[in-house]
């Protein structure tokens, strides 16, 4: 099944609205520029800054829908790392060890989610076909370690935001919610490690996209939020604004995540 079709099914099941899919031409047409992508792929920043706005809640998705959405992201990550580890000479030494562990976790997440979906009476979605060159924009993804790790960072930081955005949809099943949270924090550990290997801080300052790929701006859009539960955190602490933005990770909703993931779909 094509992932695009899958996404459309997710969205129909959710609320009938069209997903915010983005063509590669749109996403990569202006690589290197820092404007445009966030606006294309993400909700307006104002939506993040509005007090009490919660992306996660009340989309109406069933728990199985959410788990299949998560499974699709885990398929993407698991296949990416498996292909990276198979690529001759791409990953060596300590970095290979790190990626091997992350790949093991993603593969375990795939199996865990499949079991959870089946155990809940649902049917796990099939693995889509991925194109990790993103339509030829990253032709050296499996031969250039720098590119490979940059995209890995984007995937992990996206994964953290995706699980966070779905947590509220899992409140009806506390065991599933707990398991999803347990995956969520593992994705955050992965993100931190890959970021640090690449020379970034393990946490996200403002909405800084440190991948070096302008197409990943959407991965970080809204991470500069300082409004939490209606409080402007800059007014309740002496901690500076940069540190405040680092101290809270922000969610992405399903459409935002699918907009990012769609760049890596086989045509």
């Amino acid at each position: 099944m094509k992932l695009l079709h899958l996404f459309n099914e997710f969205e129909r099941g959710a609320n009938g609205s069209a997903p915010q899919l983005t063509t590669r031409r749109e996403a990569f047409g202006q690589i290197g520029r820092t404007v445009g992508k966030a606006a294309t792929l993400a909700l307006p920043l104002a939506a993040f800054l509005k007090p009490n706005h919660v992306h996660a809640q009340t989309s109406g998705d069933s728990i199985i829908d959410v788990l299949n959405f998560a499974l699709t992201l885990e398929y993407l990550e698991a296949e990416y790392y498996a292909m990276g580890l198979d690529a001759n000479g791409l990953l060596t030494g300590d970095i290979r060890e790190t990626i091997a562990l992350i790949g093991d976790h993603e593969a375990a997440h795939v199996e865990f989610l499949k079991s959870a979906i089946s155990g809940s009476g649902g049917t796990p979605v099939d693995k889509p076909e991925f194109d990790f060159t993103a339509g030829g924009n990253f032709n050296n993804v499996f031969s250039n370690q720098t590119i490979f790790l940059a995209i890995a960072q984007a995937f992990e930081d996206t994964g953290v935001r995706a699980y966070k955005g779905q947590a509220a949809n899992l409140m009806g099943n506390k065991d599933v919610l707990t398991a999803a949270l347990q995956i969520h924090s593992v994705e955050a550990r992965h993100a931190s490690e890959i970021r640090r290997i690449r020379g970034s801080k393990g946490w996200i300052t403002n909405a800084e996209n440190t991948t070096g790929a302008g197409a990943a701006d959407a991965v970080y859009a809204g991470e500069d939020n300082v409004m939490q539960l209606g409080f402007n955190v800059t007014t309740v602490t002496q901690v500076n604004r940069n540190h405040i933005t680092e101290a809270w990770d922000e969610p992405l909703n399903k459409s935002e995540v699918l907009g990012i993931a769609s760049l890596f779909l086989e045509d």
């Binding site: 919660v54 540190h243 680092e246």
Partner: protein, 236 residues
């Protein structure tokens, strides 16, 4: 270097009850400056500690106060780290990490103070006892930091199910992933292993991180938090 898991922590085993007073005399000012109140150490031998018992409240508020208690513990710890000999001689990278973590945990604690107070009663400043930690020792500081960060991750993971308000769940989610980023970074600099950041000590064969119940977490944190905490109002 290898660090024992929290429950067997070396820093706990090496506790020296006599060091606490002199330690606090030297360091109390720095902690006060960080906005965190440490006191009560002279009550060590006083069996009547329960006068100070702090009640977390009930329902979602109790869960938020529980998180606030853990953030207070972390914030107090990193405030003290920044005053210690390890930090003074740490590498630039490690100084950056410790500076960031102190700021993040302080922001979390002060946010919870404000947010909980706006709707209910926030717990007061808790008394902590760090006499078992050698703030001049890299191994002691990093071992404790690793234990606290992993504990925080497992606490939030275990507490999500106790919340009924999705806004509060989202806040917990926004914070727990930052704690996990911290845990990975601390684990990484505290080990030579490229797998330490998410080793099998904390991630199981299903790829799941630790989740602990409040009673498990408070049992561990009680090594450092001396104020008695009444968690009986926490949702089950």
């Amino acid at each position: 270097m290898k660090t024992p898991k929290f429950s067997q922590s070396r820093v706990v085993a090496e506790r020296d009850p006599h060091s606490r007073r002199s330690f606090l005399r030297k360091s109390g000012l720095g902690l006060a400056a960080a906005g965190l109140f440490l006191a009560g150490c002279e009550d060590d031998d006083d069996p009547i500690m329960f006068d100070n018992t702090v009640n977390l409240g009930s329902g979602d508020v109790a869960v938020l106060n529980y998180a606030f208690a853990l953030e207070q513990l972390e914030a107090a710890f990193y405030a003290q780290v920044l005053q210690g000999g390890y930090f003074a001689s740490a590498s630039a990278e490690e100084k950056q990490i410790m500076t960031d973590l102190e700021a993040h945990e302080r922001a979390h604690a002060e946010f919870f103070q404000a947010a909980i107070s706006s709707v209910a009663t926030a717990i007061p400043a808790l008394e902590v006892d760090f006499s078992s930690i050698d703030f001049d020792s890299r191994a002691s500081v990093l071992g404790t930091a690793q234990a606290f960060e992993d504990l925080g991750v497992s606490a939030y993971n275990g507490a999500g199910r106790l919340l009924t308000n999705p806004d509060f769940l989202l806040i917990a989610g926004k914070i727990v992933s930052v704690e996990a980023r911290h845990a990975a970074a601390i684990r990484s600099i505290n080990s030579n292993s490229p797998r330490a950041f998410a080793s099998s000590e904390v991630v199981d064969s299903n790829g799941l991180d630790l989740a602990r119940t409040p009673s498990q977490v408070l049992g561990i944190a009680g090594t450092y938090i001396t104020t008695p905490i009444d968690a009986s109002g926490l949702p089950q």
